[in-house]
């Protein structure tokens, strides 16, 4: 039984992020079985001393920590790395007698979920250095398709993410390994890669048009 879960959201887009959509859904599934949870947004924590203290206290108290973040240049966003450095440097919770579990969810903009693998390896090493029990890394590609929308708002479109996270939640509750099937659902593509690129390119142009800079989108300033 997971009594206390801590959700760490590592996106600057905070509540409106795809990271939050994925993390919130997973937490809600755990809460159905009586887990209590706490949620912190890393970008609001790392530069404030009293908030860092609170983060460390929450870590000491948790049975499960879920870190959900966007892939930034093949790795984790800088403030998330900063938080990891702070957590590692603070040893108090390493004395915690109870087993503490850790799982990471990385979502990226490119359609290939496998591009998250390096960032998830970094999470695994962090987990080991902090003495947590590594429950695995979940890779989600094409995060732009979720775009911060709560998964249950579009249950049809997001059905694979929902199924995948249901399996993840079950495995965490049963204290089992995350099954391969869960990873397969999470990395399933909504559309073929070539179509994703086509739609994406169209979308960048129309966004630039909205701001009146369509002609300047490729400008060189230096």
């Amino acid at each position: 039984m997971i009594e206390k879960a801590l959700l760490l959201v590592g996106s600057p887009k905070v509540e409106q992020s795809t990271s939050a959509s994925l993390g919130n859904y997973l937490i809600s599934k755990l809460e159905e079985s009586g887990t209590t949870s706490e949620k912190l947004f890393i970008h609001r924590v790392v530069n404030r001393e009293e908030k860092v203290k609170n983060l460390l206290n929450e870590i000491e108290a948790m049975d499960l920590m879920i870190l959900t973040f966007p892939l930034y240049v093949d790795s984790l966003p800088a403030p998330v790395i900063k938080a990891m450095e702070l957590i590692k440097d603070n040893k108090t919770f390493l004395n915690s007698k109870k087993p503490q579990n850790f799982i990471a969810i990385s979502n990226n903009g490119f359609p290939e979920a496998s591009q998250n693998d390096t960032a998830l390896k970094i999470c695994r090493i962090f987990s080991k250095e902090c003495g947590f029990i590594w429950k695995g890394g979940i890779a989600v590609g094409g995060g732009g398709a979720i775009n911060g929308v709560p998964l249950l708002e579009k249950p049809g479109m997001f059905r694979n993410f929902i199924r995948g996270l249901d399996l993840v939640a079950q495995a965490l509750k049963d204290d089992k390994e995350i099954p391969q099937e869960a990873h397969d659902f999470m990395s399933k593509k909504l559309i073929p890669d070539s179509l994703y690129r086509f739609v994406g390119n169209y979308s960048w142009k129309s966004q630039a048009k909205r701001y009146g800079v369509k002609q300047k989108i490729k400008q060189k300033l230096y």
Binding site: S11, P12, K13, S17, H43, P70, Y72, V73, D74, S75, L76, P77, A78, P79, I81, K82, M84, E85, K88, F110, P111, E112, Q115, T118, A119, K121, I122, C123, I125, F126, E129, D193, Y196, R197, G200, N201, W204, Q207, A208, R210, Y211, V213, K216, I217, K218, Q219, K220, L221, Y222
Partner: protein, 191 residues
């Protein structure tokens, strides 16, 4: 020939600082114009993930701080040195804060490269990357992850030449500098 050195150390450390100075000297002796930046002394906000630098103000971050200046320098360099403690297999938070801010220097448009989706480049000139990561003790898992990260970055940043060298304090310094010199020669050929 311009070299931009991004020093992502979190604090002063005389052993590491000595290696850094030797790298600077080596580059100078090869005729590089040096721009050495101790990142922890800069004011660089975290990327806000807004994509304004692609669709609202193309090519420039909306945050007017030192991060903008570093992005500009990245575009104007032939070689960028990522100098960092290997942090869980990746970059330190100090180095990563400027790496995240490089987004304005590429285009939003997707293309396929080495079988994967990546972005088109905004600028013709792109710097080679030599990443130098240090550890207290040798650690294969961290070293491999670091190399993988640098390889992936080179695809996203379009580096003509890239390599990652790792060293630990228990390692022979001359071995490290031999590797550095070999890579530097490859970089020079491409400039």
């Amino acid at each position: 020939m311009k070299a931009l050195l991004l020093n992502g150390t979190l604090e002063q450390d005389s052993d590491i600082d000595k290696i850094y100075s030797s790298i600077v000297d080596k580059l100078k002796s090869k005729g590089f114009e040096i721009d050495s930046i101790i990142l922890r002394d800069l004011n660089v906000a975290a990327c806000q993930g807004c994509f304004d630098c692609w669709v609202k103000n193309p090519g420039e971050c909306r945050t007017a701080d030192d991060g903008r200046e570093v992005a500009k320098k990245m575009v104007q360099s032939n070689l960028i040195i990522h100098f960092t403690p290997i942090t869980f297999g990746g970059y330190s938070s100090e180095l990563k804060k400027v790496i995240d801010r490089f987004l304005p220097t590429i285009l939003p448009f997707f293309t396929k490269r080495e079988g994967e989706t990546h972005h088109l480049y905004r600028y013709q000139n792109r710097a080679s990357i030599i990443a130098i990561g240090f550890l207290n003790n040798q650690d294969d898992e961290k070293e491999l992850t670091f190399k993988e990260l640098v390889h992936r970055n080179s695809l996203n940043m379009g580096a003509p030449i890239h390599d990652a060298i790792t060293f630990s304090k228990d390692q022979n310094e001359s071995e490290f500098f031999d590797k550095f010199n070999t890579i530097l020669e490859k970089v020079e050929v491409k400039i």
